[in-house]
């Protein structure tokens, strides 16, 4: 089935928003666990997750259904394969390697990217509205 006009209009942005939101959640977990002994900081590999979301499966193995009775699985809805532990940096004596300042910076820049995606999406929606109504409203 060919993608509809709306699918192609929102295409990279809606996927990017989903990956950004997931990454935001993982980074929030890092900041929350800044004092938890043994906690290892985690992050989403944005590039790989985005590539998989766009269909070019690099790493994620989408389940192929050869019968309608097969379960759809969690593919496409689960970014777990793209979440990894952060390496490098200093490990505290309690086994925690969260660098609060760096995580805060990543959190803020990811939030900015999310807002940027939102405003691009807003622009697309406005464009479609204009095309539908035929006026500048």
């Amino acid at each position: 089935m060919a993608p509809s006009l709306f699918d192609s209009a929102f295409s990279p942005l809606s996927q990017a928003l989903r990956v950004r939101a997931e990454r935001q959640q993982v980074l929030a977990g890092n900041i929350a666990n800044a004092d938890t002994p043994g906690y290892r900081a985690r992050d989403v590999d944005f590039g790989a997750a985005m590539a998989a979301e766009m269909g070019g499966s690099s790493g994620a193995l989408p389940l192929r259904r050869t019968s309608p009775r097969h379960l759809a699985g969690a593919s496409g809805d689960n970014l777990a394969p793209f979440i990894g532990y952060r390496t490098g940096g200093t490990m505290g004596i309690d086994g925690n390697n969260v660098d609060l300042a760096r995580e805060d910076t990543r959190f803020t820049s990811n939030a900015l990217a999310y807002r940027a995606d939102l405003s691009f999406l807003h622009g697309r929606i406005q464009g479609l509205k204009m095309a539908i109504t035929g006026s500048g409203g």
């Binding site: 989903r18 959640q25 993982v26 929030a28 900041i31 004092d35 002994p37 906690y39």
Partner: protein, 131 residues
């Protein structure tokens, strides 16, 4: 939705940091309590944090327990004190005020970071709603 889970994550972290702060307050308040409910000098308490998943891939925090510090008690020579031992030493609580102050600063800093996270998540959520 992922953004909504962030509020749960930072709320759990703020709760945990608040408990840590209240334990610090109780340690500082009892830094000189020579007797407690069991008749022995007060021992410093410490909270232990543990990761608690709020949702898949959303790691919150909870207080797994409060442990008593096993550091040696402070011994002070006070022969006139009615609680002094046979050699004139009194056992004081093993609360180290400087350690507690550092703990307090760390807890309040982490609390601020978590409050910041909650605020940012709220802004993103509202912005998404007005799309």
């Amino acid at each position: 939705m992922s953004i909504a889970n962030i509020l749960g994550v930072s709320a759990s972290a703020m709760t945990a940091q608040t408990q840590r702060l209240s334990v610090v307050a109780s340690n500082l308040a009892n830094a000189n309590s020579l007797t407690s409910s069991n008749g022995k000098p007060y021992r410093a308490h410490e909270v232990v944090f543990r990761t608690a998943p709020v949702a898949p891939q959303a790691q919150g925090v909870r207080v797994a327990g409060v442990v008593k510090s096993q550091a040696p008690m402070r011994r002070v020579y006070q022969p006139g004190n009615p609680l002094a031992g046979p050699k004139g030493y009194v056992k004081y609580p093993n609360v180290h005020v400087v350690d507690e102050m550092i703990n307090m600063i760390s807890a309040s800093r982490s609390y601020k970071a978590d409050a910041n996270v909650a605020n940012a998540a709220k802004a993103l959520y509202l912005k998404t709603l007005t799309l």
